[in-house]
Amino acid sequence: MRSLGAVAVAAMLGTSFAFADDATPPKPMKMDEPMHGEMKKETMKKGDVKKAAEKKKRERKPSTEKEAAGAAKK
């Protein structure tokens, strides 16, 4: 009985420190499918968000690097 209790306590402690793990693995996002939700325009695809993120990263890189270099000098 005591060992069962110890197992239960150990399980509780384990879950309280565990990170969220989904039992079912997610489906990979279908990038060429239309976006979900009401915010989109009709032509928007799920993959547009990834493309926009890559473009933004490229475009912002010079200015953010310049800003970081300026801050490092101070």
Binding site: F19, D22, K27, H36, V49, A53, K56, K57, E67, A71
Partner: protein
């Protein structure tokens, strides 16, 4: 009878009052111009020059919302009985496509005008003093829901990492490639939380594991989920929906 102009009717008043009246007049004219643009039909808004004017108006709107924003004005908080069950899932993808972040290898990356850019692990973030709030999430789509979030007050986190709080913006990049950014005044608002729990449980993936920035003074799309990087900057970072023409400030 002498015609009353703005100059004659304000003669003798303090410069502060005159500035206030001028600002109101400018606001009214701005709103009239906005209404006119809306009335003129959808085809017009596809034109590039019209888009530029609308973008400029939206940025002016951002500034006006920034002036009106007060860090002492709090969003309403609710009792546990008011919590919406089930809390809606909303993203640009379906629930079975939710991004799964590995909590064990997760690191919150910091960049820009921050003194200590050391990446943060989840146990380190979970060890910070936490607070909870029950507030209403308001979506730009027209629905709202009340939920309970817990995490660290964002202003405390910014102080801890030595963020330059005189900077204008904080940008966020998320694991699902979503991005958004907020103004520093909102970042320092006492109800803006970097949250790790929803309804007293570790944030489930569908609500933004490992962390979501909860801002009850802003619309839902300004509350990024699955945050991976944070950038303190004076260079306007925009965001995914903001770059599509949604109003950037989107708050009260």
């Amino acid at each position: 009878m002498k015609k009353r102009t703005m100059e004659t009717s304000l003669a003798g008043h303090s410069p502060r009052l005159i500035r206030s009246v001028e600002r109101r007049l400018f606001l009214r004219q701005g709103l009239s111009l906005g209404a006119l643009a809306m009335l003129s039909g959808c085809n017009l808004t596809d034109d590039e020059s019209v888009q530029k004017v609308l973008t400029r108006m939206s940025r002016w709107n951002d500034r006006a919302q920034g002036w009106l924003f007060s860090q002492s004005k709090l969003a309403p908080e609710f009792p546990e009985t008011a919590i919406t069950k089930p809390f809606p899932f909303n993203a640009f993808y379906s629930e079975d496509e939710v991004t799964i972040v590995d909590g064990k290898s997760y690191r919150l990356e910091l960049s820009g005008l921050i003194r200590d850019k050391k990446p943060w692990t989840l146990p380190e973030l979970y060890a910070l003093p936490q607070t909870s709030q029950i507030t209403r999430h308001i979506c730009v789509e027209g629905w709202s829901a009340i939920g309970k979030w817990s995490g660290v007050r964002f202003s405390d986190f910014l102080a801890r990492i030595g963020a330059d709080t005189t900077a204008k913006y904080i940008g966020f990049e998320c694991a699902d490639d979503y991005s958004t950014s907020i103004d520093m005044a909102t970042a320092l608002h006492p109800q803006t939380l970097l949250t790790f729990r929803f309804a007293d449980e570790i944030l489930p993936p569908k609500y933004g594991f490992p962390m979501k920035l909860r801002i009850p003074t802003k619309l839902g799309f300004k509350n990024p989920k699955h945050i991976m990087t944070m950038d303190v900057t004076n260079e306007y970072p925009g965001g995914y929906w903001e770059d599509q023409g949604y109003n950037w400030f989107s708050g009260s």
